[in-house]
Symmetry: C2
Subunit: 189 residues, 2 copies
Amino acid sequence: MSPKPMARPGGRSARVQASVHAAVRELEAERGRAALTVPLIAARAGVTPSTVYRRWGDLQELLSDVAVERLRPEADPDDHGDLRADLTAWAEHFLEEMSSTPGRAYLRDALLGTPESGNASRCSDYAADQVDLILGRAAERGEEPLPGREAVMDHVVAPLLYRILFRTEGLSPEYARGLADAVLKDAGR
Amino acid sequence: MSPKPMARPGGRSARVQASVHAAVRELEAERGRAALTVPLIAARAGVTPSTVYRRWGDLQELLSDVAVERLRPEADPDDHGDLRADLTAWAEHFLEEMSSTPGRAYLRDALLGTPESGNASRCSDYAADQVDLILGRAAERGEEPLPGREAVMDHVVAPLLYRILFRTEGLSPEYARGLADAVLKDAGR
């Protein structure tokens, strides 16, 4: 897994993070979420419990950090050569990933971190980075006018996540495509 | 506090719910969230722990239920005699309530309930009911055209909650008003 942005790749901090994250994933798969404890995770990761407490504070904060890493996109959005195709495909894919059973569980865990941890905002940054890539490609192709990134966040990403978390009726690929089409229409396309 | 929709008002089920909810609120105020346990809450409420486990399953589910009750609006939206004024004032008020420190804590707790508990969807229903009231008044006044309720949910409520939970930069009363104005403009006003 990728280290936290703060951790120097290859440094001790990054190695501790990688082994503790791996221990959480393994133990969760083997024994289930309810069996996880800091001493158990530390033993599997080969570190002391105090290393875990010092870095993460408590189990909830650690699980939140692991969840955010799992929400990190594995690849850039597909390039279909056209903004509408890129944005609608990305919105459908985002809905599919985030509304899956593990996706929902990671979203909830990500929200359990303290506001200071910045875990929830890292999730949002991942989506914003993907939207930036899609809009950047469209700009390079000379597709104008373009919606702003924050307009896509407010009117495509936000309704998808709001409904996944709070209001699940009517969620469908068509709904995701409709949101993408509407933000393009608002931008004058 | 109001009973769950399922509980017959005045029945034993409603009395148990009211006393357990009150015990959670009192104990949380007195000792803090981290000190709460099911036996402690049950003792304060004058019920057995097994009554709590039978009805709520576990502490997390109980705290989620209490949080949702606290998110229940205390009054109908103000009536300013005009849709734009009603919707912008409501959006500002909603942002203020939900982005407060207790508001954020209740939102997170509400999301901790199992999907089957329907706690998160009750939060969304509270907002939808308030939007329905505002749009219903506008319809009675003959204000046309009107945005649909789901359009207001997607383009006013969703961005506010998404940013409160995931992306807090730039949240302001002006931002809330801007969302309300935009959904009215999209509806042709």
